[in-house]
């Protein structure tokens, strides 16, 4: 099966700090890949590089844009932006960073549609209502401002606003970080069912082993910008080889 996203020999430095060093990976369609590691291990940098938000110092990201694998760096800014707006999605830890808080929930969901040429108010609104329901928010809140939403609802709104264009690949940066534990469980449940139903490929960054175990097919463990261990999620978590992975696994509090 051909890869949806491939990275080869990625390296990136922030001054003297090597955030990424020799990272290579491959992601297939409908596959959920979790990137775990301690703080400052380069997880988020990797996510930014893979999603084209950051150009790496070295190495290349290849993506399938419908006609075979192509280099992200040579795609050009308009094509990259279109890719990020339609076939890709990015879910941030803090939904306030990607949502417009002074625009209604419907407007937020509709923004990606309008950015890609939708010009029919009725249809945009219908799609927004449909997605609001899909993320389990009462459709009566369609015309409410996100600033009146709770943290969990904001995160669900961000998911709806991202998935409305039917992306095939979604990048998630700690999607449940900063949420209350019970809310976390509901969001995870929602993400899991949506991802399976829509057949999305996901690159998920998290430092929460529980989230990775629940969602991911495959796992990458990072430390100091390098991949130290990779494999199927259960395999890595049940039989961690690298000292860093063992530490991560053992640091989980028993439920």
């Amino acid at each position: 099966m051909p890869a949806l996203l491939e990275a080869a020999g990625l390296a990136h430095r922030f001054g003297a700090i090597p955030a990424l060093a020799g990272v290579s990976l491959s992601l297939r369609r409908q596959e959920i890949l979790a990137v775990v590691g301690e703080s400052g291990s380069g997880k988020t940098t990797l996510l930014n590089v893979l999603s084209g938000r950051l150009m790496p110092d070295e190495g290349e990201v290849l993506c399938d844009t419908g006609d075979g694998l192509r280099s992200l760096a040579r795609l050009g800014a308009p094509a990259l932006r279109l890719l990020q707006r339609t076939r890709w999605g990015f879910i941030q830890q803090d939904p306030r960073a990607s949502l417009r808080l002074d625009i209604t929930a419907g407007g937020n969901i509709g923004e990606r549609l309008m950015a890609t040429g939708a010009r029919h108010y009725g249809r945009i609104r219908a799609a927004a209502a449909e997605w609001l329901a899909a993320v389990e928010i009462d459709t009566a809140r369609l015309d409410d401002l996100p600033r009146h939403f709770s943290g969990g609802m904001l995160q669900r709104l961000q998911i709806a606003a991202t998935l409305v264009t039917g992306p095939e690949l979604v990048f998630m940066d700690e999607p449940t970080g900063g949420l209350d534990l019970s809310v976390q469980a509901r969001i995870l449940d929602l993400i899991r069912s949506l991802v399976r139903r829509l057949g999305l490929a996901v690159v998920l960054v998290t430092h929460d082993i529980g989230v990775a175990r629940l969602l991911a097919d495959r796992l990458i463990v990072m430390r100091a910008g390098r991949i130290v261990e990779t494999g199927l999620t259960d395999q890595v978590l049940d039989d961690p080889h690298h000292a860093c992975t063992q530490l991560l696994v053992s640091s989980v509090l028993p439920a």
Binding site: P78, T104, H120, Y121, R125, D143
Partner: protein, 282 residues
């Protein structure tokens, strides 16, 4: 006037502004930065428009200046006098007779003809500024023709008010490429921008930007397929000349709240009342 160059600005400045204007005409709707000068009037009173006018005006020009349609308000009178003094050009209040029109927030009712130049005073040239606070990011959106976010604002209006509630400065797409602020003209005037035979120049003094619409440029107001653009107008006839198709000002006439509606374009109204109906009268 002794001691001053023709039309106030020195020739180097005029050439610099003309270069910006040429660039703006070559790329309709694109904002060209220019080194705006301090002018002898405050920002917001037409410093951009007056510099553009000073750069294109010639000895044979006949100048008309309007402020919200009127030829007789402070801003219009003083800018007209300014050029009469510093350039010695003939001035007029007649749209027909003028070769150069500087305007604040209106387009005359009398259709403009080929050969005329209209100069708009622009307070905020960036149509994306409410959507995209970063000017660098806004320029990037212009470069990539990435204007979807502008429709979010229209979506919000329809959601809250049932219609697009932009009464003035309704954004337009120029030549199917650049999103442009038409300056705060009423939405009523937006259709006049489309395929106008006159050259339309826009000057923003505080923001130091010039943009332009060459004659016969395609200019479309943003809208939705199921909520088409609607140029608004008060549903009345002019109390003075009886016009039913002109843009009206609402005027309070006493302290009991009585009001009447009169043409905002004073030249159009006076011409109609003098019995010389201008072409396109309604």
């Amino acid at each position: 006037m002794i001691g001053y160059n023709f039309a106030y600005l020195d020739e180097h400045t005029k050439r610099m502004i003309r270069r910006a204007i040429l660039k703006a005409v070559a790329i309709p709707g694109h904002q060209v930065p220019f080194a705006g000068r301090e002018m002898p009037l405050p920002y917001g009173w037409g410093t951009g428009g007056i510099q553009v006018t000073a750069s294109v005006i010639g000895q044979d020009d006949v100048l008309k200046v309007i402020d919200q349609g009127a030829d007789d308000t402070t801003n219009a009178v003083s800018i007209r006098r300014f050029f009469a003094l510093t350039a010695g050009v003939r001035t007029t209040t007649s749209t027909e007779a003028a070769s150069l029109i500087q305007t604040r927030h209106r387009i005359p009712e009398t259709p403009l003809r080929a050969g005329q130049i209209i100069v708009f005073q622009v307070p905020m040239p960036e149509p994306l500024y409410r959507i995209e606070p970063s000017r660098a990011a806004a320029r990037r959106r212009h470069a990539l023709a990435d204007y979807g976010a502008m429709h979010v604002k229209l979506y919000e209006d329809i959601t809250r008010f049932g219609r697009v509630a932009v009464a003035y400065d309704h954004p337009v797409m120029v030549n199917h490429r650049y999103l442009m602020s038409p300056s705060p003209i009423p939405a009523f005037d937006n259709p006049k921008l489309h395929l106008s035979p006159a050259l339309q120049l826009f000057g923003a003094g505080r923001e130091k930007r010039i943009y332009a619409l060459p004659p016969f440029t395609d200019v479309r107001s943003l809208d939705f397929e199921d909520h088409p653009f609607h140029p608004g107008r008060a549903p009345h006839a002019c109390a003075l000349c009886g016009a039913t198709a002109s843009y009206l000002d609402e005027i309070l006439v006493d302290d009991r709240g009585s009001r009447r509606f009169v043409c905002s374009d004073t030249d159009y109204c006076e011409t109609r009342r003098s019995g010389l109906l201008p072409s396109g009268a309604g």
